[in-house]
Assembly symmetry: C2
Homo-oligomer: 357 residues x 2
């Protein structure tokens, strides 16, 4: 296994333990809510965001093991946004298991004998509260950096940035994405880019900025090195999102985790779709628009979409942008002295932006 992958696995195991052993959820009542608050954060997953905190810390010369509370905090933060997103998107499954509101609705049946609409409303209500508690938990987890010897001023700085920058950018990104769905106009590309930057980029940035500050508390988010690593994370997030858009059409359903064509079905203005509209002939544009929001996406329809995205040059445009994001990310890393953590971040960039990984 590649070095970075091995390291990521170790980080995932450590974060699992930190989250499982943390006492924050213990006093939550009733038990159904307590379990729901723990569920997503303990579901595992790649733990990419904690790795970004720890490797950025290592890159800036700090000791990654001292920043574990921050690494766990960003993971829990990520999870509260997922819980609320899943309610908003009416998603029933995440990573193959029922989403929080669906799983609580099932508990309402076993626990309280509620059924139908009553159980489903209860599931949503409790999932709202579970996400609220997870947001509190993430702030609390960040506070625990103080127990690892970090001075209160540094921790407070990171908490404030979590609210003023991460919180506003991420939640605004999610809100714009929700608004896209009901808007009647075709969403301009710059708005889609801003949404991606908020919804995915903001947390990636916050992770590496936090790692950097915890390695060198004398820096702030405005320091050129911290700005550079934040831009690295933004590039990574954009490449990651573009690759996701590409996989959503050109990938395989099993690897992608969702049905191929679901972005078209939901009428999502992906950058891939917008590139095809921008570069297509009037006829191609019309055809593409007619393929949005269909009931069903048969293999034939998916092939038709693929052909249109190829013929308009949109596929190549997106693949080229993934490449250039990836190159820019690696270039941004090159200003830092080479060490193991820089290698991990570089290898991660290659792997995340590779088209078939």
């Amino acid at each position: 296994m590649a070095q970075w992958k091995e390291q990521l696995k170790i980080i995932a195991e450590t974060i699992n333990k930190v989250i499982a052993n943390d006492r924050f959820p213990e006093k939550i009542e009733p038990a159904v809510l307590r379990q729901a608050v723990r569920a997503y954060p303990m579901l595992g997953g790649k733990r990419l965001r904690p790795a970004l905190v720890m490797w950025a810390c290592g890159l800036f010369g700090g000791k990654p093991e001292t920043v574990l509370p921050a690494a766990a905090a960003v993971e829990i933060y990520h999870n509260w946004t997922l819980v609320h997103d899943d309610i908003i998107d009416c998603d029933d499954f995440r990573r193959g298991t029922p989403t929080t509101h669906i799983s609580i609705a099932a508990s309402a049946e076993t626990e309280y004998g509620a059924t139908g609409k009553t159980a489903s409303k209860f599931g949503t209500d409790f999932a709202i509260l579970a996400g609220d508690l997870q947001q509190s938990w993430s702030v609390d987890m960040l506070c625990k950096l103080q127990d690892n010897g970090y001075c209160a001023g540094t921790v407070l700085y990171l908490i404030r940035k979590m609210q003023e920058e991460l919180g506003i950018d991420l939640i605004s990104g999610e809100a714009c994405d929700v608004a896209f769905e009901i808007r009647k106009d075709e969403i301009p590309e710059h708005e889609v880019r801003k949404m991606i930057s908020g919804k995915t980029g903001a947390l990636f940035s916050y992770c590496v900025q936090t790692g950097a500050i915890l390695a060198k508390p004398e820096l702030d988010f405005e320091h050129p090195d911290v700005k550079a690593i934040a831009e690295f994370a933004e590039c990574l997030a954009l490449a990651f999102q573009l690759r996701d858009d590409w996989l959503g059409i050109f990938g395989e359903a099993e690897k992608f985790g969702k049905p191929i064509g679901s972005d078209f079905q939901e009428g999502k203005p992906t950058l891939l779709y917008l590139a095809a509209i921008k570069n297509g002939s009037a006829e191609q544009q019309q055809k593409l628009r007619s393929l949005l929001r269909l009931e069903e996406y048969t293999p034939e329809i998916v092939e038709e979409i693929r052909a249109l995205l190829r013929e308009t040059g949109a596929e190549q445009i997106i693949l080229d942008e993934i490449d250039s994001c990836s190159k820019r990310a690696v270039k941004l890393l090159s200003r830092f002295e080479k060490n193991a953590y820089r290698d991990y971040l570089e290898e991660l960039t290659g792997a995340l932006t590779g088209r078939n990984v």
Copy 2:
């Protein structure tokens, strides 16, 4: 006007300004969400919780004007819980104006041309996100104590308590209240008391504890004086809730703000109802249960409920408990040296627990 009322009015005006001038919401996108985040916190109201922070600070010998960020923070915190509660309770109005999700649903129509279920789903989705942002805003506001010269350690301590104690107790209280509605059993009195203590008491306590710590940062929540003022706030909250239960049956609709009998209509296990069940004959118990969850509460039915609550002695039990809470609260204040702030807190106790105020 009584001294405390005049002071409360000044505090309300000051808090209105602090919230209106705070720059946190400025960068929120889209505008509909930004307005929703500001709406409840700027709606005004008594600003009782900010007053508790400021008067407790004054009681402990501090300067109330230096704790304004904390006073604004608890008010914003209170508001995020209201926004999410209103979604959960499907309430359309609060203080005579449309609730956040209803108001955003209307914006969805004017702003994006959405109607019906689409507009209403959008209203709920954005209201979830608005509450999320308000929770972030309240933490951010607390961080701003540092700008008033408070040391980072003190601020961090208060942030941590906000998550670990206030957050868990308050959200658990709300969750238990939601669970009461779908439970098939009659809710035991001790669970109702715990729910009230979480849903109302926890924030009242946090307000006075915060005021105390900001006056004397060398104290912590375990110090006997801080525990005493926290118990004062718990008594106040319980008396406040009991009075609310009483007004919900024996009050007048205009003053109460909701239709008389609505607790019975919603099947709420109020302490007033439970006292009647506990003390009533088998026949009275049966009659009381049959009066829950009716379609309509005519003046005749309300009179029937009133008579039952009187005859079982439940009304007197509740009025006596309001009195004893109020006396206990005043006694707890008496351990502190008399000053203007102690007078305000004492007068507030009398007014809040008075039956017709």
